[in-house]
Symmetry: C2
Subunit: 162 residues, 2 copies
Amino acid sequence: MSLSKRVPILVLRLLALGAAVSATIVMATSHDSADVFNMKFEAKYTNSPTFKYFVLMNAIASGYTLVLLFLPSKNSCAHFILVLDLIMALLLDSSISACLAIGQVGKNGNSHAGWLPICGQVPKFCDHVRGALVAGFAAAVAYFLILLCSLHNLMNLFTFTT
Amino acid sequence: MSLSKRVPILVLRLLALGAAVSATIVMATSHDSADVFNMKFEAKYTNSPTFKYFVLMNAIASGYTLVLLFLPSKNSCAHFILVLDLIMALLLDSSISACLAIGQVGKNGNSHAGWLPICGQVPKFCDHVRGALVAGFAAAVAYFLILLCSLHNLMNLFTFTT
C-alpha cells in the first residue's frame, strides 16, 4: 500500500489511541462522595456494570490500536484487520451508547421510574463521566473514519463500480 | 452480481426486516401499570428517551431494509449501500446497547445510586422490553452478517491479498 494511503489511517489510529486511553483513564479515575441524609454516598465507576463495560471496551480498543501501530503493515492482513476494525467500531459504539443512557439518567433522573438524578450530589463524578464519554466518542468516530479509509483503499469506495 | 452472491444477503435482509419490525412493535406496545403506595405508576416506552431512541432506530432500520428489498439491485450502488449498511449496523448496535443498559437498571436497580428495580411492579412492561431487545439484537446481528457478506462479495474478504 502506498504511503499516501497509509498516512491518514496511521493518523486516525494515533487519534483513536489517544482518545481511547484518555476515556479509559478518565472513567477509571472518576470518584466523588457526598453525604445524603447523614449517609456517606460514594460514586465511582465500579458502581455500575455499564461504566465497567465502558472501561473494559476502551482498554481493549487502546491495546488493539497500540498493537496495530507497531505491527509491520502487510497487505496480506488487510482484510482481516478490516473485520477486526469493524468489530472494534461496533464495541466502542456500544459502550458509549450504554454509558450515555446511564449518564442521562444520572443527570436528569427518571421521574416515572422514581430514579433521582445524582449529579447534583456528586458533580465531580459526573464531570469525569462526561469527559470520558467525549473521549470515547472521539475514539469511535476515529474508528468509523478508519473503516471508511480502509474500505476506500481496498476497493475505491467513492468511485462507482460498473 | 451473481444470484449465489445475492441470495444470502436477500435472506439476511428479510430476517433483519422481520426482526426490526418486531422490535419496533413490541417496544411501542409495551405498557403496564401498578399501584405503589396508592399512587398509580404507569410504565410505557415513552417514559424513557432511551426506549424512544430504540423505537426510532428500529423503525428507521425497518424502512431502510424495506426500501432496499424493493430497489432493483444495481452493482453501481454497491459501495454506497455498503456504507449505509455500516451506518445502520452502528445505529442498531447503539440503540440496543443503550436500551440494555437501562433495562439492566430496571431489572436489578442500582443500590449505589438509590435507583430501585421496577420489574417487580410492572412485569408485563419488562417482558415486552426483553422481547424487543432480543428482536433488536437479531436485527443487529443480521446487519453485521450483511456487512460481512457484502465485503466478501465486493473484495473476496476471506482470501488474502498479495
